[in-house]
Symmetry: C2
Subunit: 197 residues, 2 copies
């Protein structure tokens, strides 16, 4: 079975990659608001006109950068998931990878520089939709393994997993401490097996 890829843009185009790399670097350093197309052009050593050929607006470019970030996250997670067996283990792993990215990656910088922007993203349905297609396959595997009820609507479970995982990444501790892998694993194991014993 070939490893799935979560792509949308043609990342083999070196010009496109240069734009995205430069843009990402700028966002890391200055945040989205304080990053200008001219600055991105300077950092990427290309012309402003070229950027506008690939992305019609700054908004579209930012969207492209976030998109790639999320796709990269999904691809790295997917690669690691091969070692995990149960759905609870998979979701645990995805949350841990997400939290690490949120500390060290672009979103982490954004959280420090422009927390309101990050908070707004978190309320944006598009942000969630990009992750939705990741889960159905794994949910079906869990159903085939008898891990969860085979009658359950796969898309509903995927929706719940995305909501829960996003919440656990963005708000790691509220009432219960869900910091360690073990605590998370236990939490998800219980949540994904709710119902009569």
């Amino acid at each position: 079975m070939p490893r799935r890829q979560f792509n949308a843009l043609d990342y083999s185009d070196p010009m496109l990659v240069r734009i995205l790399d430069a843009g990402e670097q700028c966002i890391r350093r200055f945040g989205i608001r304080r990053t200008s197309m001219g600055e991105i052009a300077r950092v990427g050593k290309l012309s402003r006109g070229s950027i506008y050929r690939y992305f019609g607006t700054k908004e579209a470019l930012v969207e492209g950068i976030i998109r790639r970030q999320q796709q990269d996250f999904l691809n790295r997670t997917e690669a690691k998931l091969e070692q995990e067996s149960s759905l609870a283990d998979k979701v645990t792993l995805a949350i841990l990878v997400g939290r690490k990215d949120m500390q060290e990656g672009m979103f982490g910088s954004l959280a420090e520089i422009e927390p309101e922007t990050l908070a707004m993203m978190f309320l944006d349905p598009r942000f969630y939709r990009r992750s939705l297609s990741f889960w159905p396959q794994h949910i079906r595997m869990a159903q085939a393994a008898g891990e969860i009820d085979a009658e359950l609507d796969v898309d509903l479970v995927a929706d719940m997993v995305v909501r829960l995982a996003a919440s656990l990444v963005m708000v790691p501790r509220m009432g219960v401490q869900l910091k360690t892998r073990k605590a998370l694993r236990q939490y998800l194991q219980q949540m994904l097996k709710l119902g009569p014993a």
Copy 2:
């Protein structure tokens, strides 16, 4: 069984209520940023000094207003819950009440005037913690009725319910359409009964 109250401040103090009412009215109209202590004093027909006697800072006052809003939400929900039997029905109701508040109430105004502020609240653990103590009682009832596994950790389930409900209030539609009571009810019914048939 007496109906529970979710209180913290002494709402029998008319001065306190006048401050909170005036503050809430200002936030509804202008948002948090554009509301000043002087304006609240004017609207509430009291002195700025009095406000500072009750709330040391503007931040504390805003916290008090939000607190009362959430407590009011919980009290109204609690009252309505008496008609609902299953946990899925109760959570459905809470989400529907929450969504209505989010459209018509103070948070709705805030969503229009200062969306970033509302988004930041949604990432604040305190916002969640205020709702956490609401659920354990109902979860135990569901366990007693054999609706969910009696072995499950009550606090963990409460945590999940709060995360899921908050997400469904703030992001009503992502992949699946969860707009109607019926769709929500079915979603939650399946989610709260995850596990082998």
